[in-house]
Amino acid sequence: MNTPTVNQVKGFVDTERGLLDRQIFFSQEIYQQELERIFARCWLYLGHETQIPNPNDFIATYMGEDPILLCRGPDGRIRAFLNMCRHRGNRVCRADQGNAKDFMCSYHGWTYNTEGQLIGVPGMKEIYFGELDMDQWGLVPVAQLDILKGLIFATFDPKAPPLLEYLGGQEQELGIMFDRRAGGTEVIGGAHKWVMNANWKYAADNFFGDDGHHTITHMSVRRVPVDKRYYARTNDDAKSDERNSRLSLVPEGIIRDYHLKHLDELVERIGPELADRPGLVTTVFPNVSPNFTRHMIRVWHPRGPEKTEIWSYCVVDKDAPAEVKEAMRFHLTQTFGPAGNLEQDDMNNWVQCTNTARGLIARRYPQNIQAHLGHEDKAGPIGGGRRLRAFYARWELMMKAENWSEVDLKTRYF
């Protein structure tokens, strides 16, 4: 039997045969191209509206490796800028979140308001002789910003298609988590933030569609069910024929009871077909992954080809009773985050997958993403292995495309 070698992979991604070139997980050149072609062009997730509810609220985040300030202006409008003083480059804000009317750079004192305008330059008269055009030296704004179901997205590419067009229909699927109740969702305070020495794509593709890892990676949780306080059983206890049915990913307990109680409202809001889905675990390309079952949204910030910074937030229905919100937060902490009983076991897998890929001999051999290949019809509504191939098809498309006209956004990548 022939062992497939990298030379047989058509390009970096061969979706027809389900092969991946390992270079895409460690090559510095490919990573730099990802920053340019994916992170500088795609719509990226910045935060949730409820994290900055009041005028002059802000949070700090990242787009790719660029630090970003996400602000609500005094006019109530949400804007996003590079968190970088236009003078010499110091960060104008060192806090992760807060409320501030303006940001003064701690180096020479250039000061900006929450609309990004440069409003103060010490020595304007004596050093710049009044000739500095302050209108030209405001904080660098994102090219486009839009909000969908409370989720704030932005892109640095003025030519990127509008957010809804970019999502190509995925916005409907997001309703499963973000449009269940009239009040929408809210982020509960606090965040899990940590770093792993793994390529960002392992995590993003895992949430998008690696539904084959659960049984083995999270084997310990099948043997010792976690969170008996709120969940009578883990979703691993669900019979396989239940796995693809309504709410099957939400085991019995207070949270499932809550969802069942509001099922009519859900069906009315997002339609019976989506309401019947077991839940939502996905990735909005490239790097934000909502997880309905764990009440969480998270971003995989790239930090080089072999490093990823994970930011994770708890998201709940705003209209949910306090004890349900409490149960959701508690369940998230028990299962996910750096100490989560499930997630603890994910990171080392991705770290080692990244680590071995750089081996000289190892990289000659492609990775296998052939699950359900040729049997896509048996993959069920979650999509099975087809989704891994779809993720990398989208990745390759963005990497190759010189401009957006070459990016077919109508193809269903989700």
Binding site: K193, V195, Q334
Partner: protein
């Protein structure tokens, strides 16, 4: 006036606890907690105003790194014991160093507040190395003549953890 006997007693307790953790005697470690224990590790972040020690620390009701009771601690230990909790296969080698121990007696003899700093050195596999440094604020209660931990608040001194996981105890 510091009660040196009490201080030594508590110090010995913490050192004993550290040894149990480093020897991976996790079920014995569980016995050191009261049945109603609250074991909590909030998040750290950078706030604009950091004048109060509680600034930049997530509050009860917000997301935490650990939010445990006796049952969930037990679940965590039982999960490790399956041998299939891959984050701990092979197990981490840890060294829990406990220092700056301060004992504050309460109105009742059977309860004390204990503050301590810790440094947990963890290595794993070939090259894995993590340092977890922080402080603990404990309430110890005497149950049937033995000290037990009734409340533990752990502050790790990192905003963004530099470790792939928190599969060890503090």
């Amino acid at each position: 006036m510091i009660n040196h006997d009490l201080w030594h007693e508590i110090h010995d307790f913490l050192v004993h606890e550290a040894r149990l953790l480093d020897e991976r005697s996790f079920y014995e470690w569980l016995d050191l907690f009261t049945d109603d224990v609250v074991y909590w590790m909030p998040e750290r972040y950078n706030a604009l105003d950091m004048t109060d020690p509680s600034d930049g620390v997530s509050k009860p009701g917000e997301l935490a790194l650990f939010e445990e009771n006796k049952e969930t601690l037990h679940t965590r230990v039982a999960r490790l014991a399956t041998g299939k909790a891959w984050a701990e296969v092979p197990p981490s080698r840890t060294r829990h160093l406990v220092t700056n121990v301060q004992v504050e007696p309460s109105e009742t003899e059977s309860q004390v507040r204990v503050r301590s700093n810790f440094l947990v050195y963890r290595t794993q596999l070939e090259h894995g190395q993590d340092l977890f440094v922080g402080t603990r604020d404990d309430v110890l209660r005497k149950v049937n003549g033995k000290w037990k931990i009734a409340r533990r608040t752990i502050l790790l001194d990192q905003a963004v953890l530099s470790s792939a996981n928190l599969s060890v105890f503090f």
